[in-house]
Symmetry: none
Subunit: 414 residues, 2 copies
């Protein structure tokens, strides 16, 4: 059984935008034991879209369309798939009524063109959209004597993903024989890709039954492990065995053994140990706070802190003596440590973090070049401070710095 993913939207045929939904969807399809044989990207053009739909329906058992389900005149996926199949669209009046109700609840008048979202392929099931207005569609049909599954999903990633989990995955499980694929994602902080691979390769090569992919991110390297076996238990055992050996090799550099993000892990440890955190950030400009507060429930352990971007605010919010800045510079070990210690005390937190550095592209000197950062973490008894020089652009320096700070908090909590 093979699948084709069709991403719909003219913006993805410009030099500026790319389909990324298909990565998520490929992973989900693979988990169901289905390989993706084709991906097609097509614009908001009825002829082109109909041609792409016709091709996909002919060559793939499962055709998943993403995007083009909205209320605008550009949203043509419904129409194109109907044309490719030679069937009619029927307007679902219950769905239209629901839409009117939804708009009324928000005290907004529904624009007329919104009702085209209720045009349904003959024989298709409507998939409710928990995160947006455009409903999806699921059609099981026969084309030229061959069984076909056709799914129409919305383009925005959070809508697509929610709809896949709740509506599509269960339907697919009924149609496709259960495949036994198990996977794990290990994440290693603050190491380069080749350094990780050099130590990991001798281990994963001894497990040819597990497919291992090494993937570099910003401030982390991910090891994706995946095994196929006659049963789920066997697949899981193969993956777990290799994951265990890799965790032994990398020891506490592995921060995640189930794919969690670093901020999720830090939040989890903070809550488990009932520890309160406060941060004083200069060059990261709020990124550390922002990342931690991404995690639901982080308010139980994250108090907040200060974005001390200017020197004046370093003094105002974190009691940094102007004389210290004069003597050592704002980007210095002394200031980082004082930021961490002072923010901890001022906020009555258990752990304090202080960050200062030069994110660039301007502001660097011979002595203190762009990319130089100091990160300090303290719990009142123990104090860690690290000097690093990161290379690359502003975003990369800031991202790696926030990663370093979160990893230092994690290590202090272990």
């Amino acid at each position: 059984m093979i699948a084709e993913i069709i991403a719909v939207g003219s913006e993805m045929l410009t030099p500026y935008r790319q389909d990324t939904n298909s990565l998520y969807l490929t992973e989900r399809l693979n988990e169901s034991g289905i390989g993706v044989a084709f991906k097609t990207i097509v614009g908001d053009n009825l002829d082109h879209l109909t041609s792409a739909a016709r091709t996909a329906i002919q060559r793939a058992d499962i055709a998943v369309f993403m995007g083009g389900l909205g209320p605008t005149q550009d949203d043509l996926t419904r129409e194109a798939v109907a044309a490719a199949l030679g069937i009619e669209l029927k307007r679902d009046h219950n769905l239209v009524a629901e839409m009117y109700k939804r708009f009324a609840e928000r005290r907004i008048q529904m624009p007329e063109n919104n009702s085209q979202q209720a045009d349904i392929l003959q024989g298709a099931v409507v998939l409710p959209n928990a995160k947006g207005t455009a409903p999806g569609q699921w059609l099981e049909t026969v084309v030229d004597g061959k069984a076909r599954i056709i799914a129409l999903l919305p383009g925005p990633p959070h809508e697509l993903q929610a709809m896949w989990e709740s509506e599509c995955a269960p339907r697919l499980r009924e149609k496709v024989p259960p495949a036994a694929i198990a996977s794990r994602i290990l994440k290693v902080a603050m190491m380069g890709e080749s350094a990780v691979d050099q130590r990991a390769a001798p281990i994963y090569k001894k497990h040819p039954n597990v497919e291992t992919t090494v993937l570099a991110g910003q401030g982390q390297v991910e090891l994706h492990l995946r095994a196929t076996a006659p049963t789920r238990d066997e697949a899981q055992a193969a993956v777990d065995q290799l994951a265990g050996e890799l965790e032994d090799e990398f020891d506490d550099a592995v921060f995640s053994a189930q794919g969690e993000s670093l901020e999720e892990i830090v939040s989890y440890y903070l809550q488990m140990r009932n520890v309160k955190l406060a941060v004083a950030e200069s060059c990261t400009g709020g990124m550390i706070a922002e990342r931690i507060t991404t995690v639901p429930g982080s308010s139980r352990s994250f108090l907040g802190g200060a974005v001390v971007y200017s020197n004046q605010l370093k003094t105002l919010f974190a009691d940094i003596p102007p004389l210290m800045i004069e003597a050592h510079g704002a980007v210095s070990k002394e200031v980082a440590v004082a930021l961490a210690e002072n923010i901890r005390e001022l906020c009555n937190a258990d752990i304090g973090v202080g960050v200062t550095g030069i994110a660039g592209p301007g502001g660097g000197t011979e002595e203190k070049p762009v990319g130089l950062v100091y990160v300090a973490v303290t719990n009142g008894h123990k104090q860690d401070v690290v000097q690093r020089r990161f290379f690359g652009d502003r975003e990369r320096v800031r991202r790696w710095t926030s990663q370093l700070a979160l990893d230092m908090v994690r290590r202090m909590l272990m």
Copy 2:
């Protein structure tokens, strides 16, 4: 004249890897006045690749294949394109001799399978590869009475790009009447996609010579305009004319007329007006500060601020009286206004921003549901405060709230 780009390689059908060459190639094709109508990604499978080649040759004037030209058994592009066209491959013995010579110079014996790289489509021109071993191919032919250009290019980006510039671009200039494409991106803040389209459609429909795409982001809608004309000036004039009419319609809701992000625009206005900004964020947890400091040079106008996630920090860093929180709740208009006023005064800033709300998923009540936010912006004379209820998950609420706050700052600066 339309093009299809076909990226060949099974790794791009996994959840971990993506085609990126097509972004480069799209830009180059657009510069030659050629739009990309389809992109196809297909694996190293002869049947699938032949099917993709057949489809592309049938529906596009120009089909550019990237990848699958190497010496291994997985490299099947030549074979598949020959099969799709129903023509033969002929081994170019001069090319084979050159390869032997190249290997001899490096004192390596050439593996036998390398010579398949010299298998040339009947009638094709060989494109030398200045950066690698696999030569490209360029075929101008007629299929079903229609003129077709077929290019076979290597997958590694630096090889592909060098070959395009030196071999393909000049050939294309001879075949394609000179045309130029101009584009503009307008961005509208804090409106829904259908509301924007309802007002924009009557305008852009009067300009059928400009292709307009409406694209919803988080807290913004983008209007992508693109025109093709015989000269660059004519294309630019067509796009500018429509952009002007759309700007008149949406007035100051248009925050960007050249594709800039909202944080870039806010940073630009702050610096132009020499205005200092400070923020006090609760539910956005540092996102506003983080977005502003993404912009290089933002330190000249952004002082910093406080992430007042806990009530205790609202009092500590923004002088919010505990009695005010008791009387109105932390999520209230009163607290938002006090955060903005106090952070402005404390930091000696010109503009102060205060944000409080319930990002969810927990923490909502009947009276104050998840998604309720208050944003206040003050310059000491004028004070704006907005209550909104955003729908969706935690990330969406936070993102829209930061967008609202930045847009309010922008409006105060205008």
